[in-house]
Subunit: 200 residues, 2 copies
């Protein structure tokens, strides 16, 4: 009977939805705690408690603190990329486009400094099991730059190298900023100079 099938499907769907909701609550709780006190304030017991989930369940879904934060970071970078793709920069030269995109991205990241610092810390953690998520995040960042460089055009080999370098500079800048070595303005200026240096 189709009703039975649909009922069963709905029930399993419900279950899957519950799990998805739990994961979403976990990510939200981690982000909230990061917003309140940065990396150190994201304590696994607190994340689990705030998401109303047992500690073991948290670890079943995210096998370490860094994986949890990296999942949040991947979410955030995907949102960022979608938002940028939705309203791509219209400035003329590639350098200007890249500069604008990076400036926009930095503004978005600076809006929640503690959160960003926590996520960037996770990006540079030495957790060997987090390679895949890190690669995914790196791909998002590289993709953001790439679409800004060639406005929909094909990717040259030379362009690819430029994108790679810009991605490296971006990552280093975020690491320095998250580590307290430079402020946001310096970071933005450094990115701007790099973009013009490489694309003009």
């Amino acid at each position: 009977m189709s009703a039975t099938t649909s009922g069963a499907t709905r029930r399993t769907g419900t279950r899957a939805l519950e799990t998805a909701a739990r994961k979403a609550r976990l990510l939200a709780a981690a982000t909230e705690l990061a917003r309140e006190g940065g990396y150190d304030a994201v304590q696994m017991r607190d994340v689990a408690a705030r998401a109303e989930v047992a500690l073991g369940t948290l670890y079943r879904h995210y096998s370490s603190k860094d994986q949890l934060l990296l999942a949040a970071m991947l979410d955030q970078t995907e949102v960022l990329r979608a938002r940028i793709d939705q309203r791509p920069p219209r400035a003329g030269t590639p350098a200007e486009r890249v500069s604008e995109v990076l400036r926009r991205a930095c503004r978005a990241l600076e809006r929640e400094p503690r959160v960003t610092a926590a996520l960037v810390s996770a990006m540079f953690s030495s957790d060997p099991d987090a390679i895949d998520v890190k690669r995914a995040v790196g791909d998002q960042l590289r993709g953001i730059i790439e679409t800004a460089v060639d406005g929909g055009g094909d990717a040259d080999v030379e362009v690819e190298a430029v994108v790679e370098v810009l991605g490296s500079v971006w990552l280093s800048a975020m690491a320095f900023w998250a580590g307290g070595l430079t402020d946001a303005a310096t970071m933005a200026q450094r990115l701007d100079r790099a973009a013009h240096l490489l694309l003009d």
Copy 2:
């Protein structure tokens, strides 16, 4: 009596030397443990035991694990820089000089992969008290590149920006390599491409 004075001086000198020797033993112990098992194998109790020093003494000299590793890293980068300054590259163009220096530096770092990975991990740690040492290490790396770019000449503003970008790329490359995201060959190739891209 001069004998008394010299005796006292010798005694205080002895004391200072003992402290210096202790610090050196601590750095050596940390490096050894890192060589054997990377960042995770550098356990503070083990470092103290191997250096034949109490745990509290270790923490009096290096206020955290990351500061200990960063001190070792600063040592290593200073040695590296001195060695490079002693035999500077003789290739023609700045790009070739930088490429050679970075290749040499990478070879030196790859000789002890676990040690380097541990030190780089510390470089990207979120320890807020380690800002000064991190800056010193960053200055060393930037200095290495700078002397390679202008072979003793003056530093242009443009040159300074190029050096900064190359330093960022170097740091990112080491972070990716230490995190297991790329291998040594990729790292070297990326640095080479960046040098030629920025200096040719």
